[in-house]
């Protein structure tokens, strides 16, 4: 099931959100060794987890977090604009119809096959959300090791500059254009899943 949460209500009190911040710690701190703040030794939360953030979450029947992504508006400080401006050959895309995908996270508690299904659900949910909210472009910073997989989704994804090697790895900036055609591009690669059937969408009170 797909859930949309915005940062105003997103304090780590709700069960799904707590699990999301815990899984983020397990993936980004424990597994990928990112140098990011950890709250209370359990939750990975940084300065961008604020009222401007939107979370797209895939959860199981019981409401447990399976995967999620954090969307940041590009009109305010965000990761590409604030932390990695050198990754773009020209000024990074920005504006009300551009959001940045950050903290794309798949819970490590799943096996390979289930994780792949959650990944497909999450990618589909991101596209569905963009179409619904009038977002035309997603930007993002990704380690180059993920690039092949991101391209294999079949959507329209282009680099914004040459990748750069940092101590933490080689990363690059990407832009993904979302149009009415995107769902069929994803479907052609076996990625698209009907996560957004109104019956399975859990609307969140503001």
């Amino acid at each position: 099931m797909m859930m949309i949460e915005n940062g105003r209500s997103a304090l780590p009190c709700d069960r799904t959100l707590r699990a999301m911040f815990e899984d983020r710690k397990s993936v980004f701190v424990d597994l990928l060794k990112w140098d990011v703040p950890v709250l209370d030794g359990r939750f990975e939360l940084d300065q961008f987890d604020n009222e401007a953030a939107t979370y797209i979450i895939i959860a199981d029947e019981a409401g447990d977090h399976l995967g999620s992504a954090r969307l940041l508006p590009t009109g305010r400080p965000h990761i590409l604009g604030t932390l990695f401006p050198d990754l773009c050959a020209s000024p990074p895309p920005g504006g009300p119809d551009v959001m940045e995908i950050t903290r794309f996270c798949l819970s490590r508690r799943q096996r390979a096959a289930a994780r792949q299904q959650t990944r497909n659900d999450l990618v589909s949910a991101l596209v569905w959300y963009a179409l619904d909210a009038g977002i035309r472009t997603y930007t993002g910073v990704a380690e180059v090791g993920w690039l092949q997989q991101i391209l294999a989704f079949g959507w329209d994804c282009r680099p914004l500059g040459a990748p750069v090697r940092y101590d933490c790895g080689t990363v690059g900036a990407l832009a993904i254009e979302i149009t009415g055609e995107t769902p069929s591009l994803l479907a052609g690669n076996g990625i698209w899943r009907p996560v957004c059937d109104p019956a399975t969408l859990v609307p969140q009170a503001a």
Binding site: Q116, V144, G145, Q148, Q149, P159, G161, A162
Partner: protein, 324 residues
């Protein structure tokens, strides 16, 4: 400060590096000339630094100008090359045939200072009808490579299965324990005229591992400043080849049912049918049936082989098998 202003200012100075500067801005279009000029500039910069006394102010100004100039030339070149790669990325999206793709890759890597490329799935010959392989290596080399059945055991392919980020071939000995045969393969490649190289791994979950390699003619060194861009060229080239291959092939990859996959995963962990039956809560005969169907789908007859195939194409993950 703009380059033109800098030039105007520097002309007023009695500058020893002036001829080199003129070289840089002459629209010769030849990268080699520019590089030579930059090299000369660098050497003269050192000499300028060693000046003493009198012309100190002039010298300081000069050093600042040169620094800015060198940076702007380097940035301009980098931006130009990124534009070239962007053009390649736009173009390959429209291409329909592997020949056109090979031509486009050959052209872009020439601009990046490379000569050869090979884009391949790392698979054995038996399944090679569905595998991607596009290259412009010397004909003799490709034939020998096939005769030796190197697709899956080539040291470059093996190393690329160990990482998700591009690596220079000079790093191979740090990544793998090279066998005498590996060294022979690398020596022979050099003898065929293939020199230093850089390989971009191409891993798509659920599919065979692949890679895109780029090499210089033997005796030439790889151009390190362009390696980040090669990373992009490799990824987009591989995706274009993948798209073409999908159009060429009607049936998709081997697909197991969830139950078959679970049985294969436990078999890969070394469990017997009886043990798997206990774990899954089904009869031993049912487990045997699931595994037999999995054998059939892969066209193999042994549990070791079915496990290896399922690991190789990503149907089960290494972590699933190794997890305790």
């Amino acid at each position: 400060m703009k380059a033109a202003d800098l030039l105007g200012r520097s002309q007023r100075l009695s500058d020893p590096a002036w001829p080199a500067l003129v070289n840089i801005f002459e629209p010769s279009g030849e990268c080699g000339l520019e590089l030579q000029a930059l090299g000369r500039l660098g050497r003269r910069r050192k000499r300028l630094r060693s000046l003493r006394g009198g012309a100190r102010q002039e010298r300081t100004l000069w050093l600042r100008c040169l620094g800015t100039l060198l940076r702007s030339v380097a940035e301009g070149r980098a931006r130009g090359m990124f534009n070239r790669v962007e053009e390649f990325i736009r173009d390959v999206r429209e291409l329909a045939s592997e020949d056109e793709l090979a031509e486009a890759i050959g052209a872009v890597i020439t601009d990046l200072g490379f000569r050869y490329f090979a884009l391949a799935h790392h698979v054995d010959v038996r399944r090679s009808s569905s595998a991607i392989r596009i290259h412009n290596y010397p004909a003799g080399w490709a034939e020998w490579f096939d005769e030796q059945d190197l697709g899956a055991i080539d040291p470059v392919h093996r190393a690329s299965n160990l990482t998700s980020v591009g690596f220079a071939w000079s790093k191979l000995p740090d990544m793998l324990a090279l066998t005498p045969k590996d060294r022979r393969v690398l020596d022979l490649a050099r003898r065929e005229g293939i020199g230093d190289g850089f390989t971009v791994p191409a891993h798509v979950p659920g599919e065979a591992h692949g890679s895109c390699s780029f090499a210089c003619p033997a005796g030439e060194r790889i151009c390190a400043e362009h390696l980040p861009l090669l990373q992009l060229v490799g990824a987009y080239a591989f995706e274009a080849a993948r798209r073409m291959q999908r159009m060429r092939l009607a049936p998709g990859p081997v697909q197991l049912t969830d139950r078959q996959r679970e049985c294969v995963m436990w078999a890969a962990r070394g469990k017997s049918d009886w043990e798997i039956a206990k774990v899954l809560g089904v009869s031993e005969a049912t487990v045997g049936e699931h595994l037999r169907h999995a054998y059939e789908r892969y066209g193999v007859g042994k549990r070791t082989l079915v496990a290896v195939h399922a690991l190789f194409d990503g149907t089960i993950g290494f972590l699933d098998v190794l997890r305790r």
